[in-house]
């Protein structure tokens, strides 16, 4: 008997694969909406932890997809979600790559690019906003988010150093997840 959640996950990520213009970071709000608010597979705190793990691990940021699947249906869930997320977009990319060269300077191609760019930017801003709303419940957390964003924008620091510094400050209790008990 196949776990129905596995089918649900697969269908959701097959769809998301084709909607993820701008990559995996663009679909974080939709993943949160579906996994936390529609399906109640996990809490905000679970989602926050999954996001942190996906960012702390080596590899592409699409790994968050496998962790959502893992949380819902174990190792099988992780693998199925990843395959579903990469499948349709990879097939599309494969075929578009074949014809792309011919349309290099076509006005339609330029128009498509110019029309999708602002959508991608809007989606990535949405991810930042939804993650901040989901994660930050204490002023020290907002401060950590703001300090990281500003540091990356003004200085050439490797992001891993900033995540490491945050982990240390968190473990020491300087950055507080929330008022009162741990969520």
């Amino acid at each position: 008997m196949i776990n129905p959640a596995l089918v649900d996950l697969a269908l959701q990520f097959l769809l998301l694969s084709l909607l993820s213009i701008g990559g995996a970071n663009a679909v974080i709000p939709q993943m949160h909406l579906y996994a936390v608010e529609v399906r109640h597979w996990m809490t905000d705190a679970d989602f926050t932890q999954i996001f942190a793990l996906s960012q702390a691990a080596p590899g592409p940021n699409v790994l968050i997809v496998s962790l959502v699947g893992w949380k819902v249906a174990g190792i099988a869930g992780g693998i199925v979600s990843m395959l579903a997320m990469c499948g349709p977009s990879s097939v599309l990319t494969y075929y578009v790559a074949q014809v792309w060269e011919r349309f290099r300077d076509a006005p339609l191609r330029i128009a498509i690019q110019r029309s999708l760019a602002p959508v991608t930017v809007g989606l990535v801003f949405s991810s930042g906003y939804v993650l901040t709303r989901t994660t930050d419940h204490h002023w020290t957390m907002y401060a950590a988010t703001a300090a990281t964003a500003v540091t990356v924008l003004v200085a050439r620091v490797h992001p891993l150093w900033l995540l490491g510094a945050a982990a240390l400050l968190g473990a020491l209790g300087v950055i507080q997840p929330a008022q009162g008990p741990l969520p």
Partner: protein, 170 residues
Amino acid sequence: MLFWGFLKIGLSGFGGVLPFARHTLVERERWLTEQEFTEVLSLSQFLPGPNIVNVSVIVGRRFDGVIGAAAATLGLLLMPLVIVLLLATLYAEFAQIDAIRRACYAVSAAASGLIIAMAVKLSTPIRRTPWQVAVCAVTFAAVAVARAPLFWVLAAVVPVSLAIAWRDRE
């Protein structure tokens, strides 16, 4: 060869692997020129799907069709997938320890900052075009504030944006 090349790319990157992909493909293995890499990347960003996965599909396809694309993508994702699932299993074991949970929340706060910074960087080329700023704002309002499902937001916003871009072409 493709498999191993992309295996190394997959393992090398923390918080995004694109810079490492460029280094491996252009400088070390010389599979692509700088110009070719930029073209592959722009196509990957414009198509749906994880950008680096699209890069591996396009580069793999160039070398060996479907088999090349599959080998490159598998190489890219295999080890990171194993590592992240291992990490998650370990984390589940140790999540009762307060300091580890606290560290995890703090990392999440900082990583949210990385995403915001990335959005700011991505916005550079669209800031001077009012209609693009408007499309960006509408997308944000629908997805982040109203929490509308992504499918419907894109179904509504993309055709309008495309129509404006078409009328605005030089």
